[in-house]
């Protein structure tokens, strides 16, 4: 049935995602579907029925820096104001088993409804009602989500919409059932057709800071929207979503992306639409080079769509071709080129910084390393360097493998150093989000020993004559800001002090540009 229905277009158009336009502020609202077992549709922006909902919430005020731009009502999901509460509505699609609250539906209301109407079919674990106030709200929100997933699975609805639910976290247990999703095959007598499900998961306008690792195991996930959350980093697992066609990361607090995201641009990937901005991404700070001043001025005029010389920063010794770039084959739809990197941060066995640049939140710009930079480890332990993990890492890995990992901090003696609790807590979150592998040697690790940021240009190839930045595939790149936005910061982490950037092939500026052009 889902096939017969014209699904509203997903809004991947960057003009509607831009935070400067009100349209982007509209959340995916539920239109009023006919009372039948049709899947719930996302309202498109021109769906008139969406206007019947909560008109007040359209007027949204923006305060503070642009990268914190979220509608006040989004952030304040929990802080209720009484008059609004009265207008809240709650609807249940009786035949679908899916609970759909309107934008601001009080979670407790939903839960009450849930318990009173459906206690027999959807029993809620008792334990959740004994939580503390804060824990209670999170848990119950997730319970609602869980039951919605259950409903989607039951009716074969591939659109999993948890937009604007005030979600602070999503557990692996909640997401796991989605892996069993099977598309309801059309009934053709005698013929069993198995269709690949096309899962679309919308988590826009929540308060998420991390993702459960299970989400990266959804082989059939083709759309993932994380727009308008609180992400400062994304788990490396995002690179495993090889079926992904659309990924929306806009309006988060992302300072960099995991290096693994490059997997999404490999020749076997299907990614077609990527929304990265706005996010407070780290910017490369290129040292001024007087000799390049003249050239710099020229490039100010030259930059623009179709200008092949364009987006490469001209100043400083920044032209190099990363071995990674040479080794990989990229999708013809994307132009992916290494630009510059920071110096290497060296971390101690427990993750404290010993040497290298500061990646703190207050830093907007990070100096780039010289193109000839050779990473130098701080004074080594003992007389030799080794790729072997530290004993702390070996033990932490063993802890992480046990099923009792979350309980381990409580087994520590009371006078244990606090760092052990921090490490175990870190291991828990690492495990929950799917773990991480060294971006140099591929070994699993928990505590990184090296970190550096590489800026890559990720541009969508429009046609033979021109390309546009991933930030805005349809907009001309007209000024330096746009150019810098095409410098996507990717965080690389290594598992040992020997896992550092490989030397790049040094070429001068124009040669580097020529080389990439040839590669195109």
């Amino acid at each position: 049935m889902a096939d017969d229905l014209p699904l509203p277009q997903l809004r991947s158009d960057p003009t509607t995602e831009s935070f400067t336009k009100n349209a982007a502020r509209k959340r995916a609202r539920l239109s009023s579907p006919p009372v039948s077992s049709d899947p719930a549709l996302f309202s498109s922006d021109d769906d008139p029925s969406a206007d019947n909902y909560t008109q007040e919430r359209r007027k949204k005020k923006y305060r503070g820096p642009w990268y914190h731009q979220r509608p006040a009502s989004d952030a304040g999901q929990d802080s209720e104001d009484a008059p609004e509460k009265k207008r809240r509505t709650f609807e249940r699609q009786f035949d679908s088993g899916v609970f759909m609250g309107s934008d601001g539906t009080d979670v407790d209301e939903v839960l009450e409804e849930l318990e009173s109407r459906n206690a027999s079919t959807l029993p809620l674990p008792l334990s959740h009602s004994h939580r503390t106030q804060a824990g209670h709200r999170v848990a119950t929100t997730e319970e609602v989500v869980k039951s919605q997933i259950h409903g989607c699975l039951e009716e074969g609805n591939e659109n999993i919409d948890f937009s604007s639910r005030g979600l602070k976290r999503l557990s692996n247990a909640t997401i796991r059932p989605l892996a069993t999703f099977a598309r309801v095959p059309p009934v053709i007598e005698g013929v069993y057709t198995r269709l690949e499900p096309k899962l679309k998961v919308f988590l826009a306008s929540n308060d998420l800071t991390s993702l459960p690792g299970e989400i990266f195991k959804l082989d059939h996930l083709i759309v993932l929207s994380l727009r308008g959350n609180q992400f400062e980093e994304l788990p490396p697992g995002i690179g495993k979503l090889s079926s992904l066609k659309e990924l929306n990361l806009s309006q988060n607090s992302l300072r960099c992306l995991p290096f693994e995201i490059l997997e999404l641009f490999s020749d076997t990937s299907r990614l077609n639409s990527l929304n990265l901005h706005p996010n407070p991404f780290y910017q490369p700070e290129v040292p001024p080079n007087p000799e390049d001043d003249r050239q710099e001025e020229e490039s100010q005029y030259k930059i623009g769509l179709g200008n092949r010389g364009r987006t490469r920063p001209r100043r400083g010794a920044v032209c190099g071709v990363s071995p990674v770039q040479r080794r990989r084959s990229w999708h013809s739809q994307w132009s992916v080129t290494y630009q510059v990197r920071t110096e290497v941060r060296y971390l101690d066995i427990n993750g404290t910084r010993l040497k290298g640049p500061d990646f703190s939140k207050d830093t907007a710009r990070i100096p780039v390393a010289d193109v000839n930079d050779t990473p130098q480890a701080p004074t080594s332990r003992g007389d030799y360097k080794s790729r072997a993990p530290s004993l702390l890492e070996v033990a932490l890995n063993a802890c992480s493998r046990t099923s009792q990992l979350p309980l381990l901090p409580s087994y520590l003696p009371e006078d244990s150093p606090p760092v052990l609790i921090d490490l175990l807590t870190f291991a828990v979150s690492k495990k929950d989000s799917g773990g991480s592998k060294c971006t140099t040697c591929g070994r699993n690790f928990i505590v990184p020993r090296t970190e550096w940021i590489e800026w890559w240009e990720i541009a969508k190839v429009l046609d033979r004559n021109g390309m546009a930045s991933a930030a805005s595939p349809l907009r001309q790149m007209e000024n330096e800001r746009d150019v810098l936005e095409s410098m996507v910061p990717l965080m690389r982490r290594g598992c040992s002090w020997l896992c550092v950037p490989e030397p790049v092939t040094v070429v001068n500026g124009s040669a580097a540009a020529d080389e990439t052009e040839l590669a195109d």
């Binding site: 066995i349 427990n350 332990r381 003992g382 007389d383 030799y384 360097k385 080794s386 790729r387 072997a388 993990p389 530290s390 004993l391 702390l392 070996v394 033990a395 932490l396 890995n397 063993a398 802890c399 493998r401 046990t402 381990l408 087994y411 520590l412 003696p413 244990s416 150093p417 760092v419 052990l420 490490l423 175990l424 040697c441 070994r443």
Partner: protein, 106 residues
Amino acid sequence: MASSSQNQGLSKYVTLISLDGFEFVVLREAACISKAIAKMLNTQSNFMEAKDGRCVFGEINGIVLEKVAEYFYYNYKNRNKEDVPDMEIPPELCLELLMAADYLDT
């Protein structure tokens, strides 16, 4: 062993002693990957350990210290190697070993 290298002042080997009295003789160079042991064995210091090359760990039991000694060997053996195999740790030891690793700064 200790007597044979008295001329150089230092033995190539050191002895690690657990709280329950088990002794493990390990290569000094390998054991010094631990910052705590390196500090104990520093000849500039006046620690007893530096003189006789014997380190007593009042908080680490024999089973855990055996794993620690095994780790020193594992780390030493794999120095300069590109592919380092994983070291197996029995789950029941993981937490004690974590505490020992933090204590030894290894």
